[in-house]
């Protein structure tokens, strides 16, 4: 249960950062925090009490003493996609900085809300 609370808190912190911060780099960091929160949420959904990782590394391990492997496989995908989106977002930030010479979204007229 604590894992759910922690993961949802991370997601909320990420949304708060994206909504209130004015520095573009901080907004990208906020997106990244949200990403981690969602990954933690997925992993904790697959958790089973007193179970091990889903790897049959020795014969004494049986299938009913393992956590759910599907969320782990999905999160493996999500981490890589998160990395790719963060890289592209940072590249856009670099370009915006080159163009406007500032990272403050209030000074970049088109991004104001």
């Amino acid at each position: 249960m604590l894992y759910y609370i922690g993961a949802i808190s991370l997601i909320l912190i990420g949304i708060y950062t994206v909504l209130t911060k004015k520095n573009l780099i901080k907004i990208v960091i906020g997106l990244s925090i949200m990403d981690s929160g969602i990954n933690l949420l997925f992993i904790s959904i697959g958790y089973v009490k007193n179970a091990t990782a889903p790897i049959f590394s020795n014969a004494s391990l049986t299938a009913d003493k393992m956590v759910d492997p599907v969320p782990q496989a999905l999160v493996l995908t999500a981490i890589v996609i998160g990395l790719a989106t963060t890289a592209v977002a940072l590249a856009l930030v670099i370009r915006l900085y080159d163009h406007h010479k500032t990272l403050n979204i209030n000074k970049i007229r088109q991004l104001k809300w």
Binding site: L12, K49, F56, A63, V80, A84
Partner: protein
């Protein structure tokens, strides 16, 4: 004003999220597709690591899409940051201690990355993780030596060959088996290095591809620093 609006929005989103997860059982045994995978992976794929079996075999097509997304991101990054002036990285003067240590660490980091993706079907790890480890080694060298250049031709050759290997092995499944990415090679003894049919081949290709792509991304981003 903006903060107040944001906090009200967060309160609403948080309330509903907590409500959803309040009713979701935590830490209990689950039925369904996860159980099926756990019980049948060893017989069907021969891979010891169930997560690898799901990523490469059961959901292999999904992984092909994921690799494509990563490739698109790397290409898009290059397109966004493309500059006609041939740019060099800014002169960075790393100290002697940093240079000597990274000289010693770099081969070991690459070796660890290769170990992680070669043993992807046996131990925790796999192509994506191993590729990322190799990219961190390359980043260390970028940070210590300003003359350490990435050979972009070699990187794209490695990337294309790895992608081709993935697709060719997958198409082999159509010829020798029943479906794309069918596991048509002998499964071998679970737990051996050479086992689990096509899974290690695909994961090694993914490892090369991810390592080359991430190194290219790092090089592109570092070249924009002035």
């Amino acid at each position: 004003m903006r903060k107040a609006v944001s906090i009200i929005l967060l309160a609403v989103v948080g309330y509903y999220l907590f409500n959803v997860f309040l009713n979701m059982p935590f830490g209990e045994k689950r039925e369904g597709v996860g159980k099926y995978y756990l019980e049948n992976t060893l017989d069907e794929t021969g891979a010891v690591n169930t997560v690898t079996a799901i990523v490469v075999s059961y959901r292999g097509f999904d992984t092909l899409g994921e690799v494509t997304v990563l490739f698109l991101a790397a290409t898009g990054l290059g397109a966004i940051l493309f500059d006609k002036r041939g740019k060099k990285r800014r002169h960075q003067y790393a100290s002697l201690i940093v240079r000597v240590t990274s000289n010693m660490l770099y081969p070991m980091i690459v070796l660890l990355g290769a170990y992680v993706f070669v043993h992807g079907h046996l131990t925790p790890g796999g192509g994506f993780q191993g590729g990322s480890i190799i990219a961190t080694g390359v980043l260390l060298m970028f940070m210590s030596y300003r003359k350490f250049e990435a050979n972009h031709t070699a990187l794209s050759v490695i990337e294309s060959l790895a992608g081709l290997t993935f697709v060719t092995v997958g198409l082999g499944g159509l010829i020798y088996g029943s479906s794309f990415l069918y596991n048509y090679l002998p499964l071998g003894q679970p737990g051996d290095l050479i086992s689990a049919g096509v899974i290690p081949i695909i994961y090694i290709a993914v490892g090369f591809k991810v390592g080359a792509e991430l190194s290219g991304v790092l090089d592109t981003m570092l070249k924009t620093i002035r």
